[in-house]
């Protein structure tokens, strides 16, 4: 595809493309691109490229026109048909354009080999301003398929490469703890609901009470107790006189009951002895 500079705009001229096996394809005409933004600072690469392209295009066009004119004149002189001459001229024009294209590519490769484009861009292009003014980051972000990217990420491999110990060593746990409002957290906890979910019987079944008891230092516990004060408080809490009354009353009732029962048995024994002495067949105990 060739370009021709016209009054302030570039017009794209469709050029034939060799598709091999002697076939020639003609691309569709392309609408001219809008003029590039006016930039006051043009890079040397751009200048050289434009200069080379313009020169080659002009040379190609001129050679084509000269060749066409010569062939046209030869055709006329030779008396050949106009159509043959036009076809021949078009073929020559295509060959010359292809050669011009090869020449342009060679020149560009040569220029690129000589120049450090990265250094030139870094030195002369304001990339930040360019990105801010020309790049629509939101549109790029909209086109990014995060799901697809996520599926391609090997999270396990990333996790394996993370040195958690090092990260944890850098964390100031005390500072984090100071920032935690425990009262607020506790106020939001439903302790009753948690207690309802606890299976105390199961927990108690797992406790080795003997082992727990074996670990208790009873001597130390007793040494810390104020037994005198404890005994006084217990005595104060007990209605000792009432307790004594109940116990003595119970003892007295038992004693009276014992005396009565033993008296009755003695009565029966005496009656039995007297009955045997008087040769009664059986003691008459029915009162009259």
């Amino acid at each position: 595809m060739g370009e021709q500079a016209t009054a302030g705009a570039r017009v794209v001229v469709p050029m034939p493309i060799r598709a091999g096996a002697g076939r020639t394809m003609w691309p569709r005409p392309v609408q001219p691109e809008p003029p590039p933004p006016d930039r006051t600072a043009r890079s040397p690469f751009r200048i050289l490229s434009d200069l080379a392209a313009t020169t080659v295009r002009a040379a190609g066009a001129a050679a084509g026109e000269v060749a066409g004119a010569v062939l046209d004149g030869v055709g006329r002189v030779a008396g050949a048909g106009g159509r043959f001459a036009a076809d021949t001229g078009r073929g020559v024009q295509q060959a010359v354009a292809a050669a011009a294209g090869d020449l342009v590519r060679g020149v560009v490769h040569r220029v690129l080999a000589e120049l450090d484009l990265t250094a030139i861009v870094r030195e002369h292009v304001d990339l930040n301003s360019l990105i801010r003014s020309e790049v629509d980051v939101d549109a790029i972000a909209d086109r990014v398929d995060l799901e697809r990217i996520t599926t391609r990420v090997d999270v396990d491999a990333i996790a394996d490469r993370i040195d958690l110990e090092r990260i944890v060593a850098r964390i100031d746990v005390d500072a984090i703890a100071d920032r935690i409002d425990l009262q607020r957290i506790v106020a939001r906890v439903d302790v009753d609901a948690i207690a309802d979910r606890i299976d105390l019987q199961r927990i108690l079944a797992r406790i080795d009470v003997d082992a727990v008891a074996a670990r208790i230092d009873l001597d130390a516990v007793v040494a810390r107790l104020d037994l005198v004060a404890l005994a006084n408080s217990v005595i104060d809490g007990i209605d000792l006189p009432a307790l004594v009354r109940e116990s003595t009353g119970s003892l007295g009732a038992e004693a009276v009951r014992g005396v009565r029962v033993h008296g009755m048995r003695a009565d029966d024994a005496v009656a039995g002895a007297v009955g045997r002495l008087l040769r009664r067949r059986r003691p008459e105990e029915d009162g009259g």
């Binding site: 009732a253 008296g263 009565d267």
Partner: protein, 157 residues
Amino acid sequence: MTRAETAATGTRPAGIVTRVLAGIADAAVIVVIAAVGYLVWTVARLAAQPRTFSWPPTNVWLSTSALSVFAILYFTVFWSTSGRTPGAALLGTRVLSRRRHVLSAPAALLRAIGCVVLPIGLLWCALDGRRRSLQDLVLRSTVVYDWSYRDAEALQD
């Protein structure tokens, strides 16, 4: 409840041992009350005539007579009201008439006189088939077991 306790809630006549024990308890109560009364009377005399105070003369017949009269009153009052003296309450017995009623005052008085004058008549209940003493035979009374475990507790309250 044992067999004896079950029988005690009935109307079985009390035997010689129980009745003697009840009599001893009543005698002790009578002696104690008489002694206290004697001391009170003596102290009252001391308070009234401290200068001319002297211990009351010890007259055996008078003292015995006074004690006997007090005992007769003691038995009469208890037998004609509840049928049981403190000693009888302790041993769980009760004096009743032949019809299982509390004795009338005259009957109680006569029985009290008989018991105080002739206490040996009580021993006849050991020989009698129905456990009746001489006083019971004369006055048609009887002494029965009348107690329960609940009574024994109430007696101590």
